[in-house]
Symmetry: C2
Subunit: 247 residues, 2 copies
């Protein structure tokens, strides 16, 4: 991204983006530009839709009811994110929303909230989750929005991943468990997913299944200290991006 | 750590720990055990002091005014954390406190809040920061508490690091900047520090100094997306731990 575009507002739109295209922004975006940013006609912004790259556009009309934009030039060509996915046990609201935001920021392709034996919270506001993913994409300069899915039992969520996806999940360090970096080494092609357990960890029955490697799961260790769920998510995604992603 | 100790409360104490030692906990801990956990005499807990390893202890007396413990047996021998340090520009309270907590959880040896040209918040409650580090150490099973320092200008904080420490700081990806993993490769002995800039980034003058490599600084990239300060901290520490730490 060139320096001149850096401070322009950046919004996700559903419309097609091409030179000369013109359309109205949705009500939320109109409110944001009109009332929060107090934008005026002639001001520039950046738009992306997950398909056509990022484009510069100019505000043509700014009223309380309608904000019209005219698309001018492409600023960044379209590119995707690596084939890296997240399955995360639902935790309490603030921590869960942080996890959705961070997963998007760290370039995850998809996010699936899952239920495990020790999951206490079992409901997710999917609309809110999608809104958080969109906002994070706008802020972190992604050209796609992370796919967010309905909550599902963890075994069902595993089965819904792309065929052959390698799944890594953190378990307490022991002699039989390798580090995530060791487990990743030597394969940068196969899709990867990280499975983050609930605060109380997996149940003994789940642990037994995981240690037996169901669903292409490889148990791994993330160091000798106990990590909170959100820390484990960020740490695991960072290592996967560094070893098998686009870092 | 053995399974039988897992659910015992775990507290940091200043006292020496050895079989047979007996002492009173401080007022905050007495309140926590008495009123929050409603602990009773005979109940077990775990104690560590940063010097003597982790020990199991038994509550001997539990009143509103005094909680007495008797130390019984060592559960984990003393060990330190790698020579990995954090310098982080002060950000607004919640995000900053998260950064202190996460740095401790990820095994940083020390944390120095720093002021840069674009730092908006310039004051830190050092007592509160030390309390957060202690609580994080109690929860993540560390045997030492992360050292926390007073806020200082970033160049002064750099100068206070152990002699020869390699410092990595994130800058926007460009052809001349290598990834953190590439920069770390091949040296797992020298102390490492990560320098996290403020939300607004470094000023042009600071960037010029950093790109010239003052104070053993190596500019690195953490992927193609823009990371928030707290995400960058966790990502950088995870990679440093994986490559040059104890993961």
């Amino acid at each position: 991204m060139q320096e001149q575009y850096k401070n322009m507002p950046r919004l996700f739109v559903a419309d097609d983006l091409a030179a000369g295209a013109s359309f109205a922004l949705n009500d939320g975006q109109a409110h944001y530009l009109c009332h929060v940013l107090r934008a005026k006609p002639g001001q520039s912004l950046r738009l992306f839709n997950g398909r056509d790259g990022e484009w510069c556009a100019v505000l043509r009309e700014v009223t309380k009811k309608k904000v019209l934009v005219a698309v001018t030039e492409m600023t960044v060509p379209q590119m995707g994110v690596p084939n890296i996915h997240v399955l995360a046990a639902v935790v309490k609201k603030d921590a869960f929303e942080t996890m959705v935001q961070k997963a998007c920021e760290l370039g995850a392709a998809s996010f699936r909230p899952v239920i495990t034996d020790h999951t206490v919270v079992r409901r997710v506001n999917t609309q809110r989750m999608a809104a958080i993913a969109q906002e994070a994409a706008e802020q972190c300069e992604r050209l796609t929005v992370m796919d967010t899915h309905d909550v599902a039992p963890w075994r069902a969520a595993l089965a819904a991943l792309p065929e052959g996806t390698r799944v890594f999940t953190g378990v307490a360090r022991s002699e039989s468990v390798q580090s995530l970096t060791a487990a990743l080494a030597g394969d940068i092609e196969t899709p990867v997913a990280v499975l983050i357990g609930p605060e109380g960890g997996f149940s003994d029955a789940e642990k037994a299944e995981i240690l037996q490697g169901i669903g292409h799961i490889t148990p791994v260790a993330l160091g000798p200290r106990i990590l909170r769920a959100d820390t484990a998510l960020i740490a695991a995604l960072s290592l996967v991006q560094a070893y098998a992603g686009d870092w």
